[in-house]
């Protein structure tokens, strides 16, 4: 067999040598014109001369080539826009996770420190296990995004540098400090005194938030530039930083990051729960999933209010921009958003309802679930109703316009604001029922307290409904202002009812402890569904925030003149979002897997049964020395 192989190799070599030899023989016999060869010079073929001339021309052209600054450079296959889009989205998703987890890990650790309950400390530690690899991935995608911008959009990037260069050094410095705090916080778990460790966590959060504030200034400037002249020349970097949408985006992002981080951490717990081998493991990961989801939903409830503020500032900066978002090219995107948020509310409520099964004495609350479900479904339907409907010419004639004569009324902001506020209140009621499961208040004023809570709920719901209906009968300038009392009444209801509930159920009788781990496995798939939906929602809203500028890199200042200057269809955008989400989950699964390696035994060489271990014993080694 070896001989045959050698013979074949030899034959191949001989063949190659024959081809090279034949080629050289033929090339050496190329035509040479003696008449054209000057005396005393080496014979040169016409082809040689031609090649020499070509080289000389190229050299001359190279020397005379003027310097031209590239505006854009292409990216193969998918194009520059999609390449930067995917890199930016993945960077933002990991960054959101890395910023959010320390925020609630610190709070959980603090609760553990105050209550002396080691479960909280263990839980906080487990959350932070997901951080270090995620931090590396954040930095990697950040580098990809930066290089992508420099290479593919050099002129635009140069402009941003001219405006924001004073912020770059602090950014790099803060990034260094973030790495310092993050790794010290993680590796120093249990190695420092609790107070020092908590301070490290606080430092990590402060530095992480500061990094986000700087990066937010760059991207919000692109949407609502300020601090520059009419031609785009820099007047004040600080004014450029604190542009119209900077602070609303900061607040919106902090809340959204916590909601997203909580949901991904809950998905991790679900992943571990489903693979758990013991009841103890199941109980731990059930609890972890519950906490993660609780964090996510707590942050999710006020998120629409932060969204209102952001939208208000966008309108304040430019009505055109606001109307492009809500009434123009992107208006249908908010129908997709309604489907996502509706699913999140449904998922969150369903998880809470399933969770009641693990609480002894909570069964009597389950009879209310069907009513809550009806409310959630109704609100979802109203929110997802479009103003205008895609229809044929005959259908438009029959309806008397592109809006349905009856359903069209549900497509306007008055109806949608009302629906989302009722949806938030309903979810809050679900949470309240869950919280009360198996408990009986012992305070004397229990009945009064319950009545007060009911009164507050009814008052808030009435205000929301009344303003929602009244909005149809007033002018635009009045109607727009109605969203504020609607939001405030819901916020007031949630805060005041919670405060009453805390005192109401202080020292309450409890039918039994929650039976952690005893929950239907489908609940864990709900947690994963919520995490995927949150991620997808972040991708979609990231697209609208950026796409809103349409054919402008910096709105009204630097125009996009590239081949990608058009705004793609929503169908295309959703495909890009989906691909990004799947890449994120592939990578975060890797993070989960890496985090779970920590609990496994160290690798040991396998020894065949009965075989003598040939490795020398330490004593033998000592003897040998």
């Amino acid at each position: 067999m070896i001989k045959k192989g050698l013979a074949a190799a030899l034959l191949a070599l001989l063949g190659l040598a024959a081809i090279v030899g034949t080629s050289k023989f033929l090339m050496d016999r190329e035509y040479k014109s003696p008449a054209l060869t000057p005396p005393g010079q080496t014979a040169e073929t016409p082809r040689d001369r031609g090649l020499a001339d070509q080289r000389a021309e190229q050299e001359k052209a190279d020397k005379e080539k003027p310097y031209q600054e590239a505006e854009y450079r292409p990216f193969p296959k998918v194009g520059s826009r999609v390449a930067v889009w995917v890199a930016a989205q993945l960077h933002l998703l990991f960054a959101a996770f890395v910023l959010a987890v320390p925020l609630f890990a610190l709070i959980i650790e603090f609760i553990g420190y105050r209550t002396k309950d080691p479960r909280y400390d263990r839980l906080a530690h487990e959350f932070t296990k997901l951080l270090s690899v995620s931090f590396s991935l954040t930095a990697t995608f950040g580098a990809m995004l930066t290089f992508g911008l420099i290479i593919l959009y050099p002129k635009f990037t140069n402009y941003l540098v001219s405006v924001f260069s004073p912020t770059f050094l602090p950014y790099v410095g803060l990034f260094f400090f973030e790495a310092f705090f993050l790794y010290t916080y993680y590796y120093g778990w249990g190695k420092f005194s609790p107070r020092v460790h908590l301070l490290l966590g606080l430092g990590l959060n402060v530095v992480g938030t500061a990094i986000m504030l700087i990066a937010n200034a760059w991207l919000t400037f692109m949407t609502s530039p300020s601090g520059i002249s009419e031609t785009g020349a820099l007047i004040s970097t600080w004014d450029a930083v604190r542009n119209f949408t900077w602070m609303p985006i900061n607040i919106h992002r902090i809340i959204a990051n916590v909601a997203f981080g909580g949901s991904v951490a809950a998905a991790y717990a679900a992943f571990k729960f489903l693979g758990a081998k013991t009841d103890e493991e199941r109980a731990h990961y059930d609890w972890m999933g519950y906490i993660g989801n609780f964090v996510a939903i707590c942050a999710f409830l006020p998120l629409p209010f932060a969204g209102y503020w952001l939208a208000k500032e966008i309108y304040a900066y430019s009505q055109t921009l606001g109307l492009t978002m809500m009434g123009g090219a992107f208006s249908w995107l908010f129908i997709i958003q309604a489907v996502l948020i509706g699913n999140l509310f449904l998922g969150a409520n369903y998880y809470l309802w399933l969770g009641m099964g693990r609480i002894q004495g909570a069964q009597h609350f389950q009879k209310y679930i069907k009513y809550l479900l009806i409310l959630v479904a109704l609100c979802f339907m109203v929110w997802a109703t479009p103003r205008s409907i895609i229809s044929t010419v005959s259908e438009i004639r029959a309806m008397g316009g592109s809006s349905h004569p009856a359903l069209g009324f549900l497509g306007v902001m008055s109806a949608k604001n009302t629906a989302v506020n009722i949806l938030i209140l309903t979810t809050y009621v679900s949470f309240l029922l869950y919280r009360r499961g198996g408990k009986t208040p012992t305070v004397k004023w229990a009945k009064t307290g319950n009545l007060a809570q009911l009164g507050i709920f009814l008052a808030a719901a009435s205000i929301v409904l009344f303003l929602g209906v009244y909005g149809y009968f007033v002018e635009a300038s009045v109607r727009i202002a109605f969203s504020i009392p609607q939001v405030l009444s819901v916020l007031f209801a949630m805060v005041s009812v919670t405060v009453i509930d805390v005192f109401l159920y202080k020292n309450a009788e409890q039918a039994g402890e929650p039976r952690w781990g005893q929950i239907a496995p489908i609940s864990q798939y709900v947690l994963i569904f919520i995490a995927v939906t949150f991620t997808w929602l972040m991708g979609l809203m990231g697209y609208v925030r950026s796409g809103l500028r349409q054919h402008w890199h910096v709105y009204g200042v630097i125009r996009d003149t590239s081949v990608d200057a058009f705004t793609p269809t929503l169908g295309f955008a959703t495909k890009v979002v989906s691909v990004t989400v799947l890449i994120f989950f592939l990578l975060i699964s890797f993070v989960f897997w890496l985090a779970s390696l920590g609990g496994k035994k160290d690798w040991e060489p396998r020894v065949k049964e009965g075989a003598k271990n040939n490795l020398p014993e330490p004593e033998d080694l000592g003897a040998a020395v």
């Binding site: 009505q319 055109t320 109307l323 009434g327 997709i336 007033v474 959703t574 495909k575 979002v577 989950f585």
Partner: protein, 198 residues
């Protein structure tokens, strides 16, 4: 069949993502192109100007992002139906052309009662219509309930050449049909302005 947990989770993630992608395909699909520059020549007739003005309002001007023509009810910005007819009586002392010009160059000078300010200065970025494009837009607006009197030679305040323009003849003359006004005439001196919405 016992499907591994990791496969189930992967299937759920893919199915959820696929569902949202599908929802994304159900909504209207519109690719929005950057505005195309419309060719305007100085010898265009009023009716040609109105036609081009309509095109500009549809495209580069982004006017119909906010405004409607022929709609009533709870509107966010004034409906433009009949504006050509009522423009002359909106602001005392301003002719229809002057009023329309003011509403485009200085939109916050006059706000139609019941509406909030919010219209951008049309001659500046991000919309950035040229003076000639604005004349064409005014020509179209005049057709909505009125007659086009503005010409490509009309000079208006707010425009690049407006400050140097001699005082205008009363716009009423134009509206009475004195053919196309020469450069110095028409909407000259008064400052135009807005309906947050015009």
């Amino acid at each position: 069949m016992n499907v591994p947990v990791s496969l189930r989770i992967a299937a759920l993630a893919i199915a959820t993502t696929a569902f949202y992608t599908y929802v994304g395909q159900l909504v209207p699909q519109k690719e929005v192109q950057p505005p195309v520059e419309v060719v305007i020549s100085k010898d265009m007739k009023p009716e040609e100007m109105a036609k081009v003005g309509r095109e500009i309002m549809d495209g580069k001007g982004l006017c119909f992002t906010c405004h409607t023509v022929g709609k009533s009810g709870a509107l966010r910005f004034p409906d433009l139906d009949g504006i050509g007819g009522r423009a002359a009586s909106r602001v005392p002392g301003l002719s229809d052309v002057e009023y329309l010009a003011q509403s485009l160059y200085e939109p916050d000078k006059y706000i139609v009662p019941g509406f909030n300010p919010g219209m951008p200065v049309i001659s500046k970025p991000p919309i950035g219509l040229t003076d000639d494009e604005i004349l064409a837009v005014i020509a179209y607006l005049q057709t909505l309930g009125g007659t086009t009197t503005v010409t490509m030679q009309t000079k208006i305040n707010g425009s690049a050449g407006g400050a140097e323009a001699p005082a205008a003849a009363p716009a009423a003359a134009a509206s009475e049909g004195t053919a196309a006004e020469p450069a110095a005439d028409a909407a000259g001196s008064a400052t135009p302005a807005q309906e947050p919405g015009q």
